[in-house]
């Protein structure tokens, strides 16, 4: 029972990272109607940037987070302007291939800059030692132990979950309660009509890429804090899984990405723990296939009625 709880928490944490990445996929898909397969590699760039800021510049981790987010924002906007914008009228297959090309470009650039060797990602954030709830919860060595030491949870796990919740709340408020958020929803529903209402569609798409990429930077740091090995291909697998999560939840839907990411993380962790550690990844993709078989639009995806 305790181990199940512990696996669930780990799954929730992994799923939170997937959810944050999936948000980037789903927002870009919703607004630019394209699959940005380079999104996973933006995660990797974000992780490398924060690594450099902490390791070489020896600045505090908070600054590393902010700088990584800023760099990824700019990177996201530049990628969209240079690679995707000229193809906005092109068939979606061309855009897809371009996105895969950008993905390899980023991976190989990272290899050129930082080398192919594994970098050990530094410890970024640690919880302070403390005793909470009348001594029932101990925090020491960045580990939280509860239930008389029977349940131990890593500080990173908790931090990841909290970050994810904060991001989800903030993003939901942004999308629903601000002018730019409304413009984004408008563009995702009908780009032409939004333009005719005076919405700057290019700016809206840029903002979407900027937000998605900034979230990717956050995800990169969280991911590498939990699995502290950094390679030019670090972002590839989480990127693909987050894409799976976005499709699982219903691509284009923001709540869908959140739900899909978290469910996928839990399924992967429980599958690894109880069925087979080697087949953990296979579970993830099996889920995708099953969902697509029975509900092609994903869990929260909307059916699009084509007018004839």
């Amino acid at each position: 029972m305790i181990s199940l709880l512990s696996h669930l928490l780990n799954g929730l944490s992994l799923g939170s990272v997937y959810a944050i990445i999936a948000l980037g996929y789903t927002m870009v898909y919703g607004i630019a109607k394209m699959l940005n397969f380079a999104h996973g590699d933006v995660i990797m760039i974000g992780a490398y940037i924060s690594f450099c800021v902490v390791f070489y510049l020896e600045l505090p981790p908070v600054l590393a987070l902010i700088i990584a987010m800023a760099v990824c924002m700019v990177l996201g906007i530049v990628i969209e302007r240079l690679a995707y914008k000229p193809l906005r009228q092109a068939p979606s297959l061309s855009v897809l291939i371009t996105a895969i090309g950008v993905s390899y470009l980023l991976q190989n650039s990272a290899q050129l800059i930082w080398g192919a060797n594994t970098k050990a990602f530094p410890k970024m954030f640690t919880l302070p030692d403390a005793n909470l709830f009348g001594g029932n919860v101990h925090i020491a060595n960045n580990t939280i132990s509860m239930l008389d030491g029977r349940l131990n949870v890593s500080g990173n796990t908790v931090l990841t979950i909290i970050t994810c919740v904060v991001i989800m709340v903030a993003l939901t408020l942004f999308i629903n309660k601000t002018k730019m958020g409304k413009a984004m929803r408008g563009v995702s529903e009908d780009k032409g009509a939004a333009e005719l209402m005076g919405i700057n569609v290019n700016l809206t798409i840029s903002v979407t890429f900027a937000i998605g990429s900034a979230l990717a930077a956050v995800a990169g740091i969280l991911l590498c804090s939990t699995y502290p090995t950094l390679l030019p291909t670090t972002g590839a697998m989480p990127g693909i899984k987050a894409f799976t999560a976005a499709v699982f939840g219903g691509i284009g839907s923001i709540p869908g990405a959140m739900v899909g990411g978290i469910l996928l993380g839990i399924i992967e962790t429980l599958g690894k723990a109880y069925v087979s550690a080697e087949l953990g990844d296979a579970f993830v993709f099996a889920v995708l296939i099953i969902v697509l078989l029975f509900k092609p639009t994903g869990l929260l995806g909307k059916k699009i009625h084509e007018k004839v």
Binding site: F174, K177, T178, K179, M180, G181, K182, A183, R185, G186, E189, D190, G192, A193, A194, E195, L196, M197, G198, I199, N200, V201, V207, K302, K307
Partner: protein, 289 residues
């Protein structure tokens, strides 16, 4: 007009485009809200619109009519920069809009509705109007993220303005309803409100009465006049309902095969044999509806 004269006009394919402007008298000495000069567009050799010249006064209600496929919606798409013209220019409030994007043309003061309703149907009625208000009540993205006082102030102003605009059509009680679940007539009205929210000086209505019953159409006519009077803007409309066109338009422009075949007041248009021939067919037929 004698039968003889009518026959002669048809035989020689003479196109009587009045040289005088159709701008109503009160607007004659004011700067026109819209002026097009030799506007035209080609689609792969097909001239969809050719040599389209029109002047619209600042408070004029003018109609654009013509058979199906005459190029009416194409003209709207040219005016709103959805298409870039291959020839000619569009001037909005005296300013040349060449090379502008759709969004810039909207900011210049041109707003439109659509033949097939294109609301943001998954958003609430109020949010649809608020998207129209996007450029009218601005605040920076930073103040939106940080929830600065300017954000709350602007959001409150937007909410009030949206309700005020909705109240033109008595729709303020439906503000929270999803736009896609509104009845058809209400969706058409909401499109007009959303276009008005962008603070246009020229409102383009593409078949505003399509699918409306005579009672609704009559109400729409009253409302178009009310909008013109209250907002002091020009309205240009495409419509097949001749009661509406002849009832409220001060100037009418008839398009056929992408060319203007007649311009004039409703009375002139109704008597113009070229129009009767091209548009209404023979007189005992109902015409193109």
């Amino acid at each position: 007009m004698s039968q003889n004269m009518k026959k002669r006009l048809l035989d020689t394919k003479m196109v009587p485009v009045p040289s005088i402007s159709i701008v109503p008298e009160r607007d004659v000495n004011k700067r026109p809200v819209l002026e097009t000069r030799h506007l035209g567009i080609e689609f792969g050799g097909l001239k969809a619109v050719e040599d389209f010249n029109i002047t619209v006064g600042p408070t004029e209600i003018c109609g654009l009519i013509g058979p199906n496929g005459a190029g009416k919606t194409t003209v709207f798409n040219l005016l709103t920069k959805v298409y870039q013209p291959t020839t000619g220019t569009v001037l909005i409030n005296g300013k040349d809009t060449s090379g502008m994007t759709t969004e810039q043309a909207n900011r210049m003061g041109i707003a439109r509705t659509f033949q097939n309703i294109r609301l943001f149907s998954n958003m609430s009625v109020e949010d649809n109007v608020r998207i129209g208000l996007h450029n009218q009540i601005p605040y920076s993205m930073l103040s939106g993220i940080l929830r600065l006082p300017s954000y709350w102030k602007a959001e409150k102003k937007q909410h009030e303005k949206a309700l005020e605009l909705l109240s033109i059509f008595g729709m303020q009680d439906m503000a929270d309803v999803k736009a896609g679940s509104l009845p058809y007539g209400a969706q058409r009205r909401l499109e007009i409100v959303r276009a008005l929210a962008t603070n246009p000086s020229l409102l383009l209505l593409d078949e505003p009465a399509a699918g409306m019953n005579p009672h609704e159409t009559e109400e729409l006519m009253r409302n178009i006049i009310k909008i013109r009077d209250d907002f002091q803007i020009a309205v240009m409309l495409i419509e097949h309902d001749m009661n509406l066109v002849m009832g409220i338009c001060e100037g009418i422009c008839v398009l056929n095969y992408g060319r203007i075949i007649a311009k004039g007041t409703p009375e002139e248009i109704q008597q113009n044999p070229v129009v009767i021939e091209a548009y209404l067919g023979s007189q005992n037929k109902e015409g193109d509806k």
